[in-house]
Symmetry: C2
Subunit: 365 residues, 2 copies
């Protein structure tokens, strides 16, 4: 682990997730310098004492040793698996992500949708979440949600029944089942999909972390679907985050007699969300969007300005450190074989991509 | 009955309702001249033979004699009870209206809302229609709908339970119960509210008449609420008519699993309707609208340009041939006593209105 990664790992243990102020300092001075400043008490922040206490307790080897028993891994901002969509969060983006599951978060996020809603959902909401997520999964979409009761669970179950990839973004550490009754659901998700958290192994869920976690769900995905939500509920925080990031929000209507549809209706009335009455509305609205950017802070930065949006989409789907088959690229990009091959031809010709037989990988430049 | 009224009555028997072409001829040459032209076969219209045949059968005394047994009355375009909103239909406005019921259509229409929806409604739709219409009625709104099964009937029943005024616009003659099972519902409506038709006594309902009837429902009211509607249904014709007349349309959402909410959702998605989730949304959206115009073709035409919209609303509520008490004006205008008295003071001072004790009437000018 290099110095930079070590410092980011420390910050993930020490700084509250989503803290813009600290994030800006890191962007300005670098992670290592900010860690040193915290240690020296040289950060103008009223929470400095708490950060110092946490930094004093932080042991890098302990943090790394905790990974294996949890079957977890880390990804850093400059890793090829880092989903560049998260960089839209600016200084509030995570320092590091803990992940359980073998799928690539970056590839999964390319064609992903957030499906969120009430914990105390109705049968109607659960049914819509399960059915729509199953259909979306069949169409190659990765569903992203939290780990709560209600709509979150129904969304994951819909994908799991369809045999697809679902990503569960947790407010606790990836090894902590919250709610406890979802331990077996999380185990099933880890088998074929992804458990993701910006909080260290062993972190217990805290109220505030659910709200800050929602920004990751919103940023990671092309758009957010709200299935059921009461007025002034936590669910609308994910919708607001998506809205702030210019990601489309869709809301599912329901009975005017159901308080759990009132939040959806309000989003529609206030034109913060488009009405969604069929799962097909989702790819129709999100499919044409190109929210993926190749420009990043890591090694995939390239002069890609001359590329079409399709070519950039393909380039984003091609892994840097491994070979990907055409089938894998179809899954990752959501494009047809024909479109892919046309774009890959250009990308190879221009030196962005290397081909070997039926496999491609991004060229280091 | 004067010559003008006689000619309009003949046209109502002879010309298909809503016929723009014939309506324009009447506006241009006058009703009497057009009747003479029809008689002479001097109208360039492929339906001229049918019109001539109907005109030959038309007997004015027979038409007038039919009124009393049906307990019906006629109102003409220049009657004080004629709702000037209908003039927004231009040449497609009715020539005459048959009415059963003692309420004033003009006063009822001042603060009225159309509530329409599917015949094959669900319990959900019926419940919403009944409850909302009862509440609207309690707030002094007149509900306007058709006479069909489903939402129409539920809307009227909601008003009747609340003891309010409901207006049923029929595609048949006002004495013809269609559907027959609604005979007792129509009798109840006639007791306290209004049965209205532009078709003569005894006219049977025909498919085309339902669609032309819908324009009256839309024009008469400040706005239209669609409770349940299938995709591509007749209900959307009323919504379209309201939209074309710049009357706001509201649609009630429901389960995405219900085909009877699909039409409402489509209206919302296409921004042809505002989402309505509570009866209070209706006065909130329609209350501020001033769709009432004093400028008309009849004796209430006056130089009212200098009046505020509130003063014009009050003037519209003051009857021309009878004295109205403050309570009646509150009901008719929907304004508070304080607002009314302020406007009445100005209207009296400017000679538009005459006061005697606690009663007001419009001055002939």
């Amino acid at each position: 682990m290099n110095q930079q990664h070590g410092a980011l790992l420390a910050l993930a243990h020490v700084v509250e997730p989503g803290d813009h102020h600290m994030g800006r300092l890191v962007d300005q001075f670098g992670a290592q310098a900010v860690v040193e400043r915290i240690r020296a008490g040289a950060v103008p922040d009223r929470r400095i004492e708490g950060m110092q206490a946490r930094l004093a307790r932080f042991e890098r080897t302990e943090a790394l040793d905790a990974l294996e028993p949890a079957q977890a891994r880390l990804i850093f901002r400059d890793d090829v698996e880092w989903p560049s969509q998260l960089d839209d969060l600016g200084p509030a983006r995570p320092y590091v992500l803990w992940i359980i599951g073998s799928a690539s978060l970056r590839l999964a996020a390319l064609r992903s949708v957030a499906v969120v809603g009430a914990r105390a959902s109705t049968h109607y909401g659960d049914r819509v979440a399960r059915e729509w997520c199953g259909q979306l999964s069949d169409q190659g979409w990765c569903v992203v949600s939290g780990g709560a009761y209600g709509i979150d669970a129904a969304a994951h179950l819909g994908v799991l029944s369809a045999g697809g990839v679902t990503a569960c973004i947790l407010a606790s550490g990836v090894d902590v089942a919250y709610p406890r009754a979802h331990a077996s659901l999380f185990a099933r998700i880890a088998d074929t999909g992804l458990l993701v958290s910006e909080s260290p192994i062993g972190t217990q869920a805290r109220r505030q972390r659910f709200l800050t976690r929602n920004r990751i769900i919103a940023a990671l995905t092309r758009g957010t679907v709200v299935i059921e939500a009461a007025l002034r509920s936590g669910t609308t925080s994910t919708a607001n985050a998506a809205h702030a990031l210019n990601r489309p929000v869709l809301a599912v209507p329901g009975s005017v007699e159901s308080p759990l549809s009132a939040g959806c209706h309000q989003l529609i009335r206030e034109q913060q969300a488009v009405i969604a009455t069929d799962w097909r509305d989702i790819p129709e609205l999100l499919g044409g969007e190109d929210v993926i950017s190749v420009e990043g802070t890591g090694p995939v930065s390239r002069p890609t300005d001359g590329l079409t949006s399709t070519q950039r989409l393909v380039l984003d789907a091609v892994p840097l450190r491994a070979w990907a088959t055409l089938e894998e690229l179809i899954y990752a990009s959501g494009l047809s074989a024909r479109e892919l091959l046309a774009s890959l031809g250009v990308l190879c010709a221009e030196g962005f991509v290397t081909q070997e037989g039926n496999s491609w990988r991004a060229a280091r430049v």
